[in-house]
Every structure is written in structure tokens, then in C-alpha cells.
Symmetry: C2
Subunit: 245 residues, 2 copies
Amino acid sequence: MMTVHEVSKLTGVSIRALQYYDKIGLLSPAEKTDAGYRLYDDAALERLQQILLFRELEFPLKDIREIIESPFFDRKKALQQQIELLTLKKKHLEDLITFARGIKLTGVKNMDFSAFDTKKIDEYTENAKKQWGASPEFKEFEKKSENWTDESKKAVYDSFIQLFADFGKIKDSDPSSPEAQQKVKDLQAFISKNFYKCSDEVLFGLGKMYAAGGEFTENIDSYGGSGTAEFVHQAITVYCGKQMK
Amino acid sequence: MMTVHEVSKLTGVSIRALQYYDKIGLLSPAEKTDAGYRLYDDAALERLQQILLFRELEFPLKDIREIIESPFFDRKKALQQQIELLTLKKKHLEDLITFARGIKLTGVKNMDFSAFDTKKIDEYTENAKKQWGASPEFKEFEKKSENWTDESKKAVYDSFIQLFADFGKIKDSDPSSPEAQQKVKDLQAFISKNFYKCSDEVLFGLGKMYAAGGEFTENIDSYGGSGTAEFVHQAITVYCGKQMK
DNA sequence: TGTTGACTCTGACGTTGCGTAATAGTTTAG
DNA sequence: CTAAACTATTACGCAACGTCAGAGTCAACA
């Protein structure tokens, strides 16, 4: 059992922050002494590790709490996402360094601000949150799935996989073909019915995520064959382009 | 001349932020129309670039303003420091990635929080601020140097360089020797007299900065020969160790 | 046993860097 | 000439703590 002071020294988190985390229900101590002193055990420290990783990624504390308390939370999966996000951030810093070096050497006043662009990171972060508990979509999904049996769960996921397998069959054709577009429509309807309301915007976001080169891409390609994820992405882009404009 | 909207689109900075920057005097538009609309020119954009670089490094906006408005501000030097800080941050992210990978693979509950440690970055940041305008030390220095002539300036800097050259002469001896310790005392007195009050703590911070491997190290070594900066660092450490405990 | 010094608690208020209306004037395209 | 798109200025809100203030606790030493 460690006191706040000890935890603070070990982790670098201020005492005030620990008290605050306790207050907002993000990290409670294992127990309290009669005098009200906080005492932390190893489990609490482990949780703190998780919290700090998310904090490095600038997740709001509220989201962090929802995420690690979600019944769907899977630490390994979360770690994988965290690694991917950290890698994206690293790349961002590398871009900035390159940018700064460029100015320093040439002194060029190039009105280029692309190095400051964080869209990709933000999008990926958004999608990560959708997977866990910190989005309205997820909350809707949580409700819908409340009274699912193990069987219906499996049935739904099998159908889901089947959809991607179908995409895989036509992945070498034109993404704007009627069949492909119909499949996109099916996908949107399926998600809306079984998971959460899948607006065109949400669908567009999903498409990007599918092709982002992470775990999603791998999974989808494993169901439909290499290149399927990218094909789905393109088909969705075409679909949303038609719908939205 | 660009409107807020255009600047926002180009740079990714929100309109609200631009208005805010104007309000706090961090970034004013080149001019305003009769109706009060903000119009930015290229100079403003250039300044915005600087601001964004500092913002990426999490400098408070107030500090950023003081820094880029300091009469001592040198853009090239600032860029160099920014690059070094960005590199440090990148390394920090790499540590975190390594850490996360370690947990993921082994599942080990290692109560190791060193990857979250930002002390080095913070120290370097502090020192960077001391060089520019955002520290009490610097403000004191600014006052003292107000009525310096070019000659007295040169004299002071020559003496300063001489101090390091002296360190260089004994850099292969023991840092805790009386001579070395005396030199440290001289250095502290010199800084206090000519720049700003150099407490033991400040001195200790300087020592670290000297040996951090950046521009300072290079300069010092160029005056006293390779290894001088590290020697000074060690001598200061010994000196402060004695004084402070 | 008393006292000192280091720790800790709980409020309560302050701060930074904007987001988010609310309300109102401005400019531009058709 | 009107609607759509922009912009301005208050003003309030929020996250994640920092920073007192006032008060209780604990370990150790005298």
C-alpha cells in the first residue's frame, strides 16, 4: 500500500491530480485509512498506467474513464491502438522537425502549414473512441446489444464478416459499379440495424478507418482477401460523394 | 490580405483562436476594415508559423508572446531550440511506444513509470525560456543590460568566454579539486553580477543545460576544447551537492 | 509526554485556451 | 434587393488541474 506521496514520486503524477482523479471517479485508491488518507495498491498502479497512456494521447479524462470501464474493454487491443496512435504522433513530430529544418536552412517563407495538420491523428482518435465507450454511437450499440444472446451475437458477427467477404468477391471490379454501391447500402443498413445509426458521415469515417492500414484493414482483408479494405473504402467514398452533394 | 476564414482554412487554426490571439496581443492582423474585419498579410502568417511551433511544444501563449517580442529574439536560434525540443519529444514518444510494446508482449505488470517521465523535456524547456524572455531571470538580465554599451557588452562576453577557456585548461583534472570548485564559484559570481542572480539552484540547472549535448555544449567546447562542457557540469554538480545538503 | 516537522484532507477560488451560443452588423452572389 | 455566407463582440462554459487556506494526522525525537 502506497501513500499519495509515494505514488506521486513513483509516477510523476502530482498529488493534486491523484486527488482529482479520485474525485471524478477515474482512479480510486484501494482503500482509505480512518483518517481519510488514500492508499493505493498494485491494481491501482496498473490502472494508472493505462490512464497515463491515454493521457499522453490527450484523451479527455472523462473519455478515459468510460473507455477503461467499458465491458468491452480489451487491454491488448487498447494497447495496439495506443501504439498506433503514438506512432502517428511520432510521425507528426518528424514532419514538424523536417519543416523547421527547412525554414532554418533556406529561410524560405513558404506559406506551408501542412506540417501542423493533425487531421489524420484526430480521425484515428475519433475512430478509436468509437470502438470503445466514448461516443454516442457506441452507447447506442451498448444498449442494442444488451439483450443479445451468445448465439445472436455470433449470428450478427458472421453476417458482418460475410458482408466483407462479398466485397472481397468484387474487389477487382469498379467501386462505383451498381453492385458495389448496393453492397455499401447493405453495409450501412446492417450497421444501422445491429449496431448504431450509421449516417453517411459516420459511414464515411468508417471507410477511412477501414483503409487506414491498421488492425481493421488487416481483419477485413483476412475476410475478403488483400485489397478488400481499400476497395470498400473507395466504394464508400463514391457512395457518400453521391449522397452528400 | 486574407480574411480570418482564409487564414483558418490555410493554417488549421480556428477563427475563434485567431480572434483570441488578437485579443491577448499575440497575433494582430495587419489591418482592419472599416467594419472591423480582420485582414492578415504574409508577415502575420509568418508570425503565426512561429507561434504554432511554440504551441506544439506546449508553451503558454503568454510566454510565446514574450519570447517572440523580446529584443533578443533570434529566429534561427529559436528554430534550433525548437528542433532540439521536438527531437526530445520524439524520443519521449519512442520510449512510450517501446514501453507499450513491452507490456503488450509480455503482459508483465512492471511498475515502471520511467517512460512517462518528462523531466528532461521540462528542464530543457525551462532553460529555453531562460534564454528568451519568459523567465524572471531573463527580465532581470534585460534590465541590467539596458544601459550597456557595445563595448561593455563585448567585454562581458569576452570575460564569460574566458571563464570557460579556464575550465578547459583543467578539464582533465578532478572536478572536485579546489581549483575547479573555485572556478565554479567565479562563474556563479560572474553570472550574478552581470546577468541575473544565480542561486545554487539556477546554477545547477545551467550545469545540466551545458552538458545536454545541444548548442551550449558545442559553444563551450569550442572555447575550452572537447569535454569542457561536461567537466563544468560535473564541477557544478559537486559544488551544488556540497552547498545544498 | 509533548512538540515539531512532514504529510494529508477537504473546500474554494484562479487559470489557460479556447468552444459555444446569442445577437447584430457586413458582404456577396444571384 | 434579398438570401446566404461571413464577421464582430460580449458572455458564459469547460477541462484539468495549481494554489492557497484551514485543519487534522502521523512518526520521531527530546
